[in-house]
């Protein structure tokens, strides 16, 4: 009995300690704002974290927009209000689906890659040898990746929305024959810039911080063996996905709870 409570306590302390360590890494990474030397590193990471995620984001955005439009149409047409499909597609994308789905895809595509890359650098002593050369790996390796990941996510989420709305239009207007004018005007009248677009981007930014933080921390703190890295990669995807969904609920309650 006592040993169980003890084990629970020890596990709790371990988690707390890990959280503290990740906090230290986060603060070091955040304040290591890319200097003159670090710009190329940052740009390079922006490419491998952001640009290389574009394909999956665009394809997913297109399909989700099309499905939304199709589902919305079959429901709304019963009430004769199928021209509201544009409004429905745009609002659900901008407020909710773009940030969340982008973040989930990003965790799987870029987050896991970040963890594996950093973990492997640790296992092959590249991080140690950076330290011995007198270069802080938190500044050189972690910080550019963190900044790139954090800033990529809002951009990717925006692209997701745009492509999704276009997909919704393809299905709604070109295929199902909703009148184009009312499709767009309904959308324009209902989507508010600061209420919807800005809040959606804030969500994406928060998810960006959470997902990249988890990814770089899991890599940096991984056990430097092949199992250690594979476990860390799995943890990144699981923790990041759960964090995104949990944070989404909190943010939605804060932003849209009193509407």
């Amino acid at each position: 009995m006592f040993t169980k409570i003890q084990a629970l306590g020890a596990a709790g302390l371990d988690k707390l300690e890990a959280f503290g360590r990740s906090g230290i890494i986060l603060s070091q990474a955040v304040f290591a704002i890319p200097g003159r030397q670090a710009w190329p590193l940052f740009i390079q990471q922006l490419y491998s974290v952001g640009v290389l995620s574009l394909i999956i984001i665009i394809v997913s955005g297109l399909f989700i927009g099309m499905v939304l439009s199709l589902q919305g149409y079959t429901i709304l047409v019963d009430y004769g209000s199928e021209q509201a499909v544009g409004q429905m597609v745009a609002l659900s994308l901008v407020r909710e689906l773009s940030p969340v789905v982008t973040a989930l895809l990003f965790a799987g595509r870029a987050g896991s890659a970040l963890t594996a890359e950093i973990g492997l650098m640790k296992a092959t002593e590249q991080l140690s040898s950076l330290e011995m050369i007198g270069v802080d790996p938190l500044r050189r390796i972690i910080a550019p990746r963190f900044w790139a990941g954090m800033l990529s996510l809002p951009l990717l989420s925006m692209i997701f929305s745009v492509v999704g709305i276009w997909g919704g239009m393809l299905v709604g207007v070109d295929w199902l024959g909703i009148y184009e004018g009312s499709f767009w005007s309904n959308m324009q009248n209902s989507v508010d810039f600061s209420e919807d677009v800005v809040n959606g981007l804030i969500k994406a930014l928060v998810f960006g911080v959470a997902v990249t933080w988890i990814a770089v921390y899991q890599g940096y703190d991984s056990v430097p063996t092949s199992e250690g890295i594979s476990q860390a990669t799995t943890r990144t995807v699981v923790y990041a996905s759960l964090a995104v969904l949990g944070l989404d609920f909190i943010l939605t309650a804060l932003m849209f709870g009193d509407l």
Partner: protein, 268 residues
């Protein structure tokens, strides 16, 4: 005059444990300045650990590691990075940066710590690569190198900035006899020409004793013996003799501490 009168590193009462196992138990080690010091001992005694302690990558449980008046374990993160600019380290695994070419790997410390022109960096890098016989491999990526080549590139990188203190963790492993001879000479020559202090961890007794000015033998968390090559050869201790002659039987165990073999087999 003894070599230890002028030491660059002064380790006092160093204790370090991994879990319950003491790797070092209150050891004193002094590394003479401008000389080649060899650290030898059975595999798994903590030679790599010692280098990491000196480099500040591990913190000792107790004791001081004083490098030129700086007590390494007590330094702040920032001061530590400053001190490390004076050190070069060849890792046991090489640890080349896999996303850079051989040339860029060797150029890396120079780019980070100096403002030399591109032309000068090129000259220095090619010179270092030439010294380890790999000038022709400058444009290759680390994944294209053999283990021995990678280690030589790592050696070139460790000495790129001509540091005051170079630590070589098993530089000769995986080298053919020719490369080995060249590396032994290179390390000795660099030491004489540039006057920097070298610490070599190696299992190649003859090669190492040939160039080392001073030797530490470590076993069982203690310093077993230290002195010049002659002093060690003249050492009457059975343990020292066993190690220098490479005999399997004797007081120094070949096996990692374990339960009795027969007992373990009988337990099934």
């Amino acid at each position: 005059m003894s070599y230890l009168d002028d030491s660059i590193i002064d380790i006092r009462q160093l204790s370090f444990a991994r879990g319950d196992r003491a790797i070092f138990d209150a050891v004193d080690i002094r590394i003479p300045r401008g000389k080649i010091t060899a650290v030898m001992g059975p595999s798994g005694t903590g030679k790599t650990t010692l280098l990491r302690l000196i480099g500040g990558q591990l913190k000792p449980d107790q004791g001081q590691i004083v490098l030129d008046n700086d007590n390494i374990p007590a330094l702040s993160r920032k001061e530590l990075f400053k001190v490390r600019e004076k050190m070069g380290m060849l890792f046991q695994s090489g640890a080349l940066f896999t996303d850079m070419s051989v040339f860029e790997n060797v150029a890396f410390p120079i780019r980070v710590h100096t403002d030399l022109s591109e032309q000068m960096i090129r000259d220095v890098v090619l010179m270092k690569l030439h010294a380890v016989g790999l000038r022709g491999a400058a444009d290759m990526m680390p994944s294209e190198l053999s283990g021995g080549m990678a280690r030589r590139v790592a050696l070139a990188r460790a000495i790129a900035l001509d540091p005051d203190l170079v630590m070589y963790d098993e530089p000769f492993t995986g080298q053919d006899p020719i490369a080995m001879g060249v590396l032994v000479n290179l390390i000795a020559r660099l030491n004489k020409a540039l006057g920097h202090t070298s610490i070599i961890v190696s299992h190649d007794i003859n090669e190492t004793l040939a160039i080392a000015d001073y030797i530490y033998l470590i076993a069982d968390a203690k310093v077993l013996a230290h002195g010049t090559a002659e002093e060690l050869r003249g050492n009457g201790s059975e343990q020292v003799r066993q190690f220098l002659d490479g005999l399997p039987d004797g007081p120094v165990p070949f096996h990692f501490p374990a339960d009795d073999y027969l007992d373990q087999l009988m337990q099934g």
